[in-house]
Amino acid sequence: MTALTTSPATEAGLIPSAQMQPRGASFLTATGQAARRTLLQYLRTPQLIVLPTVTSVLFLFMFRYIFGGAITTGTRGIDYVDFLIPGFVATAILWTGMSATSGVAEDALSGVHDRLRSLPIPRASVLAGRSLADTALITWTLLVNLGLGYAVGFRAHAGFGSVVLAFGVMLVASLAFSWVFISVGLWAGNAQAAQGMATLWVVPLTFVSSAYVPVHSMPGWMQAFAKNQPVTAVINASRSLMLGGSQAAGVGHSTSYWVVIALAASVGILVVFGGIAVARFARTR
């Protein structure tokens, strides 16, 4: 390093000596910076926030007022609106989270990821920040959607604490699913393909679930999927918590059963897709 201290660059003060050379941000700092960047994108590109909200309203009106009249919940004492809203809010995790795929694909294609990978930071932090920011956006949408639910007549039958708990379960699921969307975005190659690939599995996961209609109204082969997929677990846990017990919500197993299944499924998704996404991002080509 003696050569360095005598170079003209050091004399000009542009290049600090070896000791002062920046060593790179810590995982936390880098995650925070990456999250901030994505949040600013959302806040300063209003259509990214407004569009999912408008879509939510359309969906809600469709099911509440168009299909709703023809759907029976099959559970005594539960109006369709009370059945629908927990499912409607929970599926917004996927409908809103989807937008991350095109954002991630754009960053990959536009050279942003190349720049970030050339920096002295833990590479996983870039994606962790993205995931946190996306979870924040989803949280916002969940709150708005719950508010919309109340506006069209939904009432939680359980106490405030249970609603908060239901929200907690949905947040964990949001965090988990954000890694699925990040993975899809990293593999897709371009923003449009990313959006298409996300839709491809978001539609079956949300519609073939207990979100909008009771699962027992579906054909048997479809029930097999609908009953055993993670989105249904999250919906049933939320519904059960919000409507004051599994009996009232008509979800078969106990509330704690669904909560445990929902959390376990989320953790599983988080681990698997977190691993896939980080491996994909950190690889050298």
Binding site: S7, A9, Q41, G111, L119, R285
Partner: protein
């Protein structure tokens, strides 16, 4: 002094495409080194290898003495990369963009702020620093991107086709910015397919084609070594162009090139002065009136032609190819 870049026998294969075929390069510190070559020559693959984004199949690569494959993390502490696209965030201001990268380099809040202001000044964006980047022109974005690669105070700046797609004025502004950096002693490796750019900015030019180095030296050395001069003739009347071509063809090393717009015919020759006298005599005898005739040194373009037997990519900054190196499949492997 330790070379800033030392590459030996670098190979990289993508399927059937051999992007790098045993590339050898030693870049001395304190100067700009330009990698000059057509699309698909392997320039980007090499830059990405130095930037720790691409792992070559074989070879040795050191940056400031650090083994790139063994200690990529250390390499990332001393490099700054500006890729082919301006990878700045449109939804953030210029200031925020620089601050973002500075923080990622590990500068604390205050140091990041100082570095950001310094760099904004240096790249001439101090006044536009608080505007969202989505309101910037293409040239401003490129300059900001250059600034982002600089804010971590790298020892080595990697610029991959920094002016591709810019209009001539923005190109000149970016060149000025790069020259300022060089004056401050940052080492630069830049890739370009524009000969003028290499000529303007670089002390050392490395000509690459098909993943290997064809020749290297200062622009002057390369021109000397090609051993040729160029005879350039401009007849007064366009009608005489065929005669001029015929005469030049008889003395040239390869077929003469005619530029219809400027009415000039050029040809590379060995033993310039004698051939020039011959050409002048013959044209005089055949009654061709001339506006201009002269002997000049070859451009790097002509050097490339004489080295490879084929012209470099069309030197047209107005019509860039944003997909750049064909040897860099984006997500295809």
């Amino acid at each position: 002094m330790t070379p800033i870049i030392e590459a030996h026998g670098i190979t990289k294969r993508y399927g059937k495409v051999e992007a790098l075929a045993g590339l050898e390069l030693v870049a001395e510190p304190g100067r700009v080194t330009a990698l000059l070559g057509p699309n698909g020559a392997g320039k980007t693959t090499f830059v990405n290898s130095v930037a720790t984004l691409v792992r070559p199949d074989a070879g040795e690569l050191r940056v400031a003495g650090i083994d790139v494959f063994g200690e990529p993390k250390k390499v990332r502490q001393v490099i700054g990369l500006a890729g082919q696209f301006a990878s700045v965030e449109p939804a953030m201001t210029g200031r925020e963009n620089l601050d973002f990268v500075a923080r990622l380099f590990g500068l604390d809040r205050r140091a990041a702020r100082t570095a950001t202001e310094e760099v904004l000044e240096r790249i001439g964006l101090a006044d536009a620093g608080d505007r969202l980047v989505r309101t910037y022109s293409g040239g401003m974005r490129r300059r900001l991107d250059l600034g982002a690669s600089l804010v971590g105070r790298p020892r080595l700046l990697l610029l991959d086709e920094p002016t591709t797609g810019l209009d001539p004025r923005s190109r000149r502004e970016l060149w000025d910015a790069i020259r300022n950096l060089v004056a401050d002693g940052v080492d630069v490796l830049l890739t370009t397919q524009y000969l003028e750019e290499a000529d303007q900015l670089a002390r050392d030019v490395v000509i690459v084609d098909h993943g290997r180095v064809i020749d290297a030296g200062t622009p002057d050395e390369l021109k000397d070594r090609s051993g040729r001069d160029v005879i350039e003739v401009r007849p007064r009347s366009a009608g005489d162009l065929p005669v001029v071509e015929e005469v030049l063809a008889s003395v040239g090393c390869e077929p003469p090139q005619t530029d219809i717009d400027t009415q000039r015919v050029t040809v590379g020759v060995v033993g310039g002065a004698d051939e020039l006298a011959t050409v002048a005599g013959v044209l005089h005898d055949r009654g061709v009136a001339l506006d201009d005739i002269g002997l000049r040194r070859p451009s790097l373009d002509e050097v490339f032609l004489s080295l490879t037997g084929q012209p470099l990519a069309p030197d047209d900054p107005q019509d860039p190819e944003p997909t750049a190196d064909a040897a860099r499949p984006l997500e295809s492997e």
